[in-house]
Symmetry: C2
């Protein structure tokens, strides 16, 4: 995941016999664009933009006619006039990158961490404002290597994007949740948009041509897009914490939340539809976090990380100058992580866990917030708990003062789950357990608390939030009474965690500096949802005792549908049933490669040495989820829609000759 | 894997609402037959026999015409006259089962284990001979529950079997070694034979009818065949030994052997063909043993086993009668296994490991045997090492006195590998290391030993074997000189291992008795390559982050071939390319079910409640290899060719309407 100002030209020359010049790099950078949460690219002289179906889902849904939905029916504009304007969509094109580390760092002169944080934020704000004023571009200072260095990214923003073509979600996400994050795959996860300028198609200076045949196995290809976030430069101690404490706790929350949703659904079939999005979201997170955890347990990956870290620490320790600056950083992080772990059970229970929307009680969480807001609001900003500083306090208040529909049965279930967890994880004489249960079972306590509260009523919440400490102190609402008792316990946990996390951040930034000082750009920074280029080759990999092929074909789509007897989520859109015989079934459909990919890269173009589109990245394979912390090129794979599969679908299924011709420059 | 004299009728009734009567059971038992190394069944009124392609490979190869080979071309007899007689093939039909535990056990009155072994063998021999004389059938006393009980199995043998139809191996074993033991699968692993009697088709009393549609997902189905060997009743201590010592050592031998073969092939491309079978064999074993080991490491499986064993041991300890008889057995096994482990490194190195054909030196192994044979031959049978008792000595002699082609380069490589292992695993002052290396590197020692030996010459070996101890003592052949030095070291290891293994067997038999006494037939005995019936349902399972479907279709065959660009082993026979459009591609091809399967079950019919063939078992899935020790129905699956897929292939690909009509009773 190389930045465009530090591409590893020599490494590419050695590995692929390919050393792109600055023109190639500029052309590719200017062809690539970033859309909200995803990546995309210009793919025609008339401003066609290629991205994933799931990246443009909001627009596809919003521009649908009243009586049907393009998510279900698919859509292909017959002509320009038929292209549908997306309301809230924009695209950012990266115009230039400038190093600003010295400007940021020289502004940080304060003695305390809090002062330093303020000075750093002010310097960044100054640089961004000045850049905006002088260039008219959108400017962002990006912190790389965990604050080790800073770069100024300047973007041109396009705001008129229109929907040109989107297949049915059924085929874009064929295989649904089971096939999500897995391979072999059979998804047409694509959407075409067009950038307009003054109500006419925009003609970009740079766009990617279409490859005639796509990439062969072993051919060098490049993924160009905006990977969101990785933790590869984290220390082992940070990873150990996630492995032993953070992720297991998170997975526990997902599991209990899903159990609660299923409990609700078992009593009320209509709940299945109501909770569908939440359930899908949690299943998705469960699969992702399960994969992160598997990566952290994977001995091959972790051996690599351990070797790297010991070598790096040895370098620091053997160099007096480095040792003086960075010698204590790893131990400082490890000690802070260890201490965070020592009270993690209390912290997550006293704080009622990540409860809202995760199967916990929304009302209980609101009660805790109301009590905390009352006292935080009386303090000067710099003395508040971290989450309540800056805009934090107002945002939390806004959340408390908006209408919220809560289901009392679900609330009782959620609170019962939380109290049961506390009962399991904490000793019986723990003050939280005594206060919350007071000798009752979790069910009895939750029933009494939820039945007795009036916090469902917005005016009651408003009176408490606006009434401040006095109103809170006077309240007899059972949830507020409990939250008042718990608050001092919870506050101690938060203060302790805030200060340990500050130690971790400060030392992580120092480690980032040390990494950059030691390895330079030979070691790319962690992903930051900014433009990167990653190299690789289409390649099969070992899976489930055999080999997963480097590509799939349209035969496989019909195989997987038939193998599951066309049951959801393996149903085929009507069009794909009726027009099957038009397809050349051996056409490559999806493919995998060794290119490094992570969330945010969705919609990235995959290009060959001629900067031609050979694919459209949309996912990674299951074991590759573990690449969040350590990449294993033997097993981790990017998954893309094949360029030939896109053309075949456009021409044979969507009457899209107009669009296919434009892509192919005909 | 239930025996036919103890089917779990009540369990089936509860689980499937199906309680077959004795007629159903007799019909199924008599329809099933056993062929060498495999299972099979009668599937027509005219004696058609269905089994796997790999089970009849020898016959298919042998009956091929001079100028071509049915393994490559496939074969379907146009009429009865065209059916080809297999030279060395027979089929055994299980006529009856009789319990003979008391007869065997009452014959064992001796005081020493050796005497008991002799008495037991004599009693079994008596029962088998008497049975053969009175019934004219082939009789075999089967030891179940590790010698806990004994049953007499009577078989009718059929010896005239003819080849009716065999597809190309390319399609029978499509996917080759990579897809072996895995799923989703696309193999037409079938062959049809016919039993003849007096040169006319035999009309069996019982045969299985063909199912019209095959089995639906979730429908109860039964696998009827001869599972070869499982270790589920082994104690945890036995499994721990295999996990920590036995299997890792075995995998080490495979790995080094493959490296040696590849080394040979890298210098001499013709070696690839020459060593093809050995390499395939080792890869197959590597995959199997790797799977066994994975099963023993699998925490879910082993937790089940641990729970069972502690519950069983608690039952024994809490019952004074059981405790008196069986109380010490588990500890005795554990102690013996632990002691075996304590000298495993010496034992495998002094004995030159499982070297022959596994990348070791054949000449070194022969030298060691010549030295050992000389001294063992001078002793009475009962005082010999175990492997030299009975027919052992003569068989070993015969091996030494047969022509053997050895490749000196390969021999040096093999001996170098063995000596290098000894150098790595044993301390430098180990007497073996000192004698074998004498200060030389493994390469130097192997080079000198192999260059200097005359054991390649059969007459030299004969002179030594026939010359006895004096000839061996006088030999100056460097391999014999080394073997003479090593022999006393190795002998101590063998004697020690023999006596510990005797302790393990004796206690395992007691544990088997205790298991049978405690759980009866509710706990089926370990597999013994005798007829069993196992129940299950077609069912998908979780794999590689998603779901593996319960069935595949012909679409998938063409997908997998295309996805690998038709590269070996994913090529298609010409017939399957030319006639593709004849096929209904949605026809079910292979399917998986929860039926318990293990090697030996190959060729077993899979039947529904009406005793109709719904499939032909040929393999298990990858994770299911771990079922050798503990079955996990959540993940372990049998793989079968679907009955509909067989008919489709016969009719559309092999001009086999004659055969398909016969199967379908038309």
């Amino acid at each position: 995941m190389w930045t465009f100002d530090a591409p590893p030209i020599e490494y590419w020359r050695k590995t692929y016999g390919f050393a792109p010049d600055q023109r190639w790099l500029d052309h590719v950078r200017l062809s690539a664009i970033r859309i909200p949460g995803c990546s995309a690219s210009f793919v025609s002289a008339n401003g066609l933009v290629l991205t994933n179906h799931h990246c443009a889902r909001g627009c596809t849904d919003a521009v649908s006619p009243k009586d049907s939905n393009y998510i279900e029916t698919g859509f292909a504009a017959a002509n320009l006039a038929d292209e549908k304007k997306c309301a809230d969509m924009w695209a950012d094109q990266l115009i230039s990158i400038e190093a600003v580390t010295d400007r940021v760092r020289s502004a940080v002169t304060g003695a305390t961490p809090a002062e330093q944080t303020r000075q750093r934020a002010a310097a960044i704000d100054r640089i961004e404002t000045e850049c905006k004023q002088t260039t008219g571009l959108n400017c962002q200072v990006v912190s790389l290597y965990q604050g080790g260095i800073y770069s100024l990214y300047r973007y041109k923003r396009y705001t008129d994007l229109r929907l040109v073509m989107a297949p049915e979600e059924q085929i874009a996400a064929f295989g649904g949740d089971p096939d999500n994050f897995t391979y072999p795959r059979y998804d047409l996860d694509m959407t075409l948009l067009r950038v307009y300028d003054n109500n006419a198609p925009f003609h970009p200076t740079d766009y990617l041509r279409w490859s005639a045949n796509g990439a062969a196995e072993g051919e060098p290809i490049f993924l160009v897009g905006n990977p969101g976030s990785t933790g590869r430069l984290n220390t082992l101690a940070q990873m150990d914490y996630l492995r032993d404490i953070g992720y297991p706790a998170q997975l526990g929350f997902y599991k209990r939340a899903l159990a609660n949703y299923h409990e609700m659904i078992s009593h009320d079939p209509s709940a299945a539809r109501r909770f569908q999005n939440q359930v899908f979201g949690i299943e998705n997170s469960q699969k992702a976090v399960g994969g992160y955890l598997a990566g952290l347990i994977d001995s091959a990956r972790m051996a690599k990380k351990r070797d790297f870290e010991s070598e790096f620490r040895a370098r620091i320790n053997n160099d007096p100058a480095l040792r003086a600056q960075y010698g204590g950083t790893f131990d400082a992080v490890a000690n802070a992580q260890r201490e965070l772990g020592s009270f993690a059970k209390q912290a997550r229970n006293y704080g009622f866990g990540p409860s809202v929307g995760l199967g916990g009680s929304t009302l209980m969480a609101m009660a805790a917030q109301i009590v905390r807001v009352a006292s935080e609001a009386t303090k000067p900003d710099s003395l508040r708990l971290v989450a309540y500083r800056g805009a934090g306090l107002e945002n939390i208040k806004k959340g408390l003062l908006s209408e919220r529909q809560v289901d009392p049965t679900f609330e009782k279930l959620g609170l019962t789950t939380q109290l049961r967890l506390a009962q399991q994880e904490l000793p019986p004489d723990d003050p939280f357990v005594r206060a919350a249960l007071g000798g009752r079972t979790p069910e009895q306590a939750a029933d009494a608390l939820i039945s007795g509260t009036k916090l469902t009523d917005l005016s009651v919440r408003r009176a408490l939030v606006e009434g401040g400490p006095a109103a809170v102190a006077a309240s007899t609402d059972p949830l507020i009474v409990l939250a008042r008792t718990i608050d001092p316990l919870n506050r101690r946990m938060i203060v302790r965690a805030d200060s340990l996390n500050a130690i971790i951040s400060a030392n992580a930034a120092l480690i980032g500096q040390a990494l950059f000082a030691t390895y330079g750009t030979a070691l790319p920074p962690d992903a930051t949802f900014t433009l990167r280029i990653s190299d690789g080759v289409p390649k099969s990999y070992p899976q489930a005792g055999t080999i997963a092929p480097y590509k799939t074909t349209y035969y496989g789509l019909y195989e997987r549908a038939a193998a599951f007897d066309y049951k959801d989520p393996f149903t085929l859109p009507q069009r794909w049933v009726a027009r099957k015989d038009r397809l050349t079934l051996t056409t490559p459909y999806n493919f995998v490669s060794t290119n490094d990919i992570i969330g945010g890269n969705s919609g990235s173009p995959v290009i060959n040495k001629n900067a031609e589109v050979v694919g459209l990245a949309f996912d990674g394979n299951f074991i590759g989820i573990g690449s969040r912390f350590v990449l294993n090129p033997d097993t981790d794979r990017m998954i893309a829609v094949h360029s030939a599969g896109i053309i075949e679908a456009l021409r044979k299924m969507y009457d899209g000759a107009r669009i296919a011709d434009e892509l192919q420059g005909r």
